[in-house]
């Protein structure tokens, strides 16, 4: 009960079809909620809707991946191309997302912004996952005072609101891309460390680990050959769910003027630079970058939910956001 609750994690709060809303993968008071008797109303979630949801999510993720990978090299368009005769045009066939206050095409700007946000999110999630897996595996495998010390440190760090810690780090190391990546990674590895540690603790009691130890395998060999491969699926799932959350953090920092420099405009920068036009009544430069943050988040959550169901078929999630 004493475990502090970690910060806002859109990636891991969800509802299971059977239990209460759970923080899917971390400790904290939430999981102690009594699930109550299983209540299955008629047609809770049919498997067909589940399949449809996974397919739509996969299509969106694929589309986004193609857009951010292929549009910049192939399009031969300059996202910075200023056209003062076409400034602040509302969405139309020529400019589906409209144009901004100096006449730049917003669809193109958004694709480039999404590319920057996604890249920062991916790198930060990767760094956080490696760090969290290493720390969590070490704590779980070594046990004893190492475990207590590490988990105390994790608890202490999680009692600082994540965005605030991120703001603090970025404020001290500004400006640049790396302070943003580091600040997002430093605030995100904690939940992975908890998940991996719990998983290692449960794997440690398995017969095949006992067999390896009694066969004379060293601690290192047991950890690397038997424990780490066992936790990789869970760590991978946590990493995938972390990407949208890292993007969310990066956008918040950029929006506050503490994130990426303006020439590496992310979705957060786009929303920030649209504030002037918004107050003049032009909504599209604000609306579309935000939508491009929400849609990937929901799509990735849909895919990750299906992945979690495969990992843990007993705990089927409705929409594991």
């Amino acid at each position: 009960m004493a475990e502090p609750v970690t910060g806002r994690v859109p990636g891991t709060t969800g509802t299971t079809a059977e239990g209460g809303p759970v923080k899917a993968a971390e400790g904290g008071p939430v999981e102690t909620v009594e699930a109550g008797p299983v209540w299955k109303p008629a047609g809770t979630v049919r498997s067909s809707t589940r399949t449809l949801r996974v397919r739509v999510s996969a299509a969106i993720v694929l589309l986004i991946a193609l857009a951010v990978l292929l549009v910049p090299p192939l399009a031969q368009l300059d996202q910075q191309a200023v056209d003062l005769s076409a400034k602040l045009l509302p969405p139309s066939w020529a400019h589906p997302f409209g144009t901004d206050d100096v006449g730049r095409d917003l669809l193109l700007r958004c694709v480039y912004g999404l590319r920057v946000s996604l890249l920062v999110g991916l790198v930060a999630a990767l760094v956080a996952t490696v760090l969290g897996t290493a720390v969590g595996a070490a704590a779980g495998a070594l046990g004893g005072w190492t475990d207590r010390l590490v988990m105390r440190a994790v608890d202490t760090l999680s009692s600082i609101p994540h965005l605030l810690l991120g703001i603090f780090i970025v404020a001290m190391f500004r400006p640049g891309v790396w302070p943003v990546v580091v600040s997002v990674a430093v605030t995100h590895w904690l939940s992975t460390a908890r998940i991996v540690r719990a998983e290692v603790l449960s794997l440690r009691g398995r017969p095949y680990v006992d067999a390896a130890i009694s066969g004379g395998a060293s601690r290192w060999r047991v950890a690397v050959r038997h424990l780490v491969p066992g936790v990789l699926p869970q760590a991978g799932l946590a990493a995938v769910l972390m990407v949208p959350h890292a993007m969310w953090h990066e956008s918040a920092l950029s929006f506050l003027g503490l994130g990426l420099p303006a020439h590496q405009a992310s979705l957060g920068n786009l929303v920030q630079s649209a504030r002037g036009s918004l107050l003049a009544g032009d909504w599209w430069p604000t609306l579309f970058p935000g939508l491009l943050l929400i849609i990937p988040t929901l799509a990735i959550a849909g895919l990750a939910g299906a992945w979690r169901d495969r990992l843990n078929p007993r705990r089927r999630s409705e929409l594991s956001l």
């Binding site: 008797p37 009692s159 965005l163």
Partner: protein, 333 residues
């Protein structure tokens, strides 16, 4: 809900609060030290920050003198200890960006933040409960699916973006509500009426950004409670549907949500950082962002520690309420 005598178990609760305060002290110590350690690792230089543009023309001797006066030539641990001992006497240093003592900045702004946070929580609890009950009545029904999808979308939406869209719709497009600040432009007098009209949008946006969690908890709690014996009994006695829902299912279904409200403090602070900035609300969260933008270390450090203390207090509140609601959990944590 209570001990057999019908009174609250004050003794165990006080012991738990005392124990947790003892545990919180080292956490706060570590956090303050960590804040100083991060600053020491960073390129941030308190002398340059203090001298500002004058530092560009000042002689090296003057800068060294300033460095000694500020104590910036001291080792990390000495600076941390100095800050800590004066913080315990109420002296948190001087904020460069606000041009006043940090303690005064906090004192002036804490109330406004508390007002915004309380209003936002009220919005989230009321809306979340109402929608949660409606959705739980027929889980999997049209209303449930619509509101649940909306909740997941809101959970993914950044609060600053929601705030900007609200400004566009209510302030620019409809022109019915002010877009930010505490009073109308040109007016220096803070009247309750002006504060109320300026509070509506930030409280609504912050509340709505917190709504998904409250909604999902109530929905699940009520849905679970609907399947339990007291509800079956109430139905068997022929109570009206409204009485069953509100009198029985909601009462037990709301409990997990209400007991866990305290653990929502981190999310509330995250939301407040963004919403206060968007609406220029004169609270401490907006001050945090200003302190970060202008690298005002004394203010930023104090506010980071304050936020951590708020999170720890929220967790304690949550655990106390949980122990009260479910005597099996007790107050041993």
């Amino acid at each position: 809900m209570t001990s057999p005598a019908g009174r609250l178990p004050w003794g165990p609760m006080a012991r738990m609060a005392g124990r947790r305060t003892l545990f919180a002290a080292p956490v706060l110590l570590v956090v303050t030290f960590g804040v100083f350690a991060i600053a020491a690792l960073s390129p941030f230089d308190p002398v340059k920050a203090y001298a500002g543009t004058a530092g560009l023309t000042a002689s090296q001797a003057d800068l060294d003198q300033l460095r000694a006066n500020l104590g910036a030539d001291q080792p990390l641990v000495a600076r941390w200890w100095d800050w800590l001992t004066s913080a315990l006497t109420g002296d948190l240093g001087t904020s460069a960006v606000m041009r006043q003592p940090v303690a005064d900045v906090i004192g002036e702004r804490l109330g406004w933040s508390a007002l915004l946070a309380a209003s936002a929580f009220a919005v989230a609890v009321l809306l979340g409960t109402a929608l949660g009950v409606l959705a739980a009545r027929r889980q999997g029904g049209l209303l449930d699916r619509a509101v649940s999808s909306l909740a997941y979308t809101l959970e993914a939406a950044p609060a600053f973006w929601l705030g900007l869209l609200a400004i566009w719709f209510f302030s620019v497009h409809l022109g019915v509500l002010p877009s930010g600040g505490l009073t109308d432009a040109g007016s220096d007098v803070v009247t309750p009426g002006q504060v109320a009209s300026h509070l509506v949008l930030p409280a609504l946006v912050l509340g709505v950004s917190q709504l998904p969690w409250f909604f999902l908890y109530v929905r699940q709690g009520v849905a679970d409670a609907l399947a339990e014996d007291p509800v079956r009994g109430a139905r068997a006695r022929g109570l009206a549907e409204r009485g069953v829902l509100v009198g029985h299912a909601l009462r037990s279904g709301m409990l997990p949500m209400l007991t866990l409200v305290g653990s929502r403090v981190p999310e509330l602070i995250t939301g407040a950082l963004l919403v206060e900035t968007v609406f220029s609300w004169p609270g401490i969260a907006a001050a945090t962002v200003q302190a970060a933008t202008s690298v005002d270390f004394p203010l930023l450090a104090a506010l980071t520690v304050l936020a951590t203390a708020a999170v720890l207090a929220g967790n304690l509140l949550s655990d106390l309420l949980y122990g009260l609601a479910d005597p099996r959990v007790g107050f041993d944590g």
